[in-house]
Symmetry: C2
Subunit: 196 residues, 2 copies
Amino acid sequence: MKEPALLANQLFDTGCVKFGTFTLKSGLTSPIYIDLRLLVSRPSLLRQVGRALAEAAQGLSFDRIAAIPYAGLPIGVAMAMALDCPLIYPRREAKAHGTRQAIEGAFEAGETALLVDDLITRGDSKLEAIAPLEEAGLVVRDVLVLLDREQGGADDLARHGYRLHAVLCLTELLKQLVSSERITTAQYDAVMNYLV
Amino acid sequence: MKEPALLANQLFDTGCVKFGTFTLKSGLTSPIYIDLRLLVSRPSLLRQVGRALAEAAQGLSFDRIAAIPYAGLPIGVAMAMALDCPLIYPRREAKAHGTRQAIEGAFEAGETALLVDDLITRGDSKLEAIAPLEEAGLVVRDVLVLLDREQGGADDLARHGYRLHAVLCLTELLKQLVSSERITTAQYDAVMNYLV
């Protein structure tokens, strides 16, 4: 089985991807719930995720991995250790406090940063994370996520000149879970209809 | 050379510990500046730190590592991967937003969490991190840091019934840097006088 296929099964088996009826903050319901923050509680799976991201980054050119806290940070650390590549991270609350530096870790202006996060839905939170990196003189061309929910994120980024790369996209993940008999085709259809 | 001695040299060589005249936010000056957030930019050193923490935790009994974001999170991930022990982390801004869960990662009430962070000065930020863990039903007995600045943190924790463990304490670190001729005895004295 290929690495992304194996990962899809493990994300299901560890409860990072769940199927059912989930009530969102908006009050609407969703047939799928994804929580990749749970990966920290599965260090061996986290290590595999780090290797899968490293593999997906082959062919990209970058000096630093820039991970988005919180969810992207443990994933970025696992990837940094797999590649032996330096990591930096923009702080979430830098603007609010003002006294903290906006980016932690060592870097120099002119270096290229690969933005890494757990998943992408739309592009806005990635664009928000890119802004302080570019303000600090870093060059950002590529964004790498573990899971692309295929809900417009790639197009949002492309409109701003960034390329999206993903270890898994949601359709692939669902197909793999059907083929390994972890979900039914009815569950697959429910999620596909929900996403449209 | 023993692991902590090696680590002391490497923390100096990578700029995580600096000597000079540093102006603090308060306007006062300090002869030493410690930034262990830089560790993410040295993945191989981060891996060693993870192993050193794992070693320092031998003899302690715990079900989960609870890392304090931000600085403690990459260190906690490295330790979790070294030990293959699940990690959780309290969110910094959980209270402010209200809608987010206070603790990320999987755990059950009644389990024991080992609190992990990069360094300790006084005990207050550790006590703040322990509060949501205990509110969630976790048992906390021990706190493990990479570096103890020896400025009252151990006593603060002891008064609340927690034990502090450290891979390195600042005096040891300074002595090692003198013995490896990275700093002078004058620099050592300046920091020791400053700490008193």
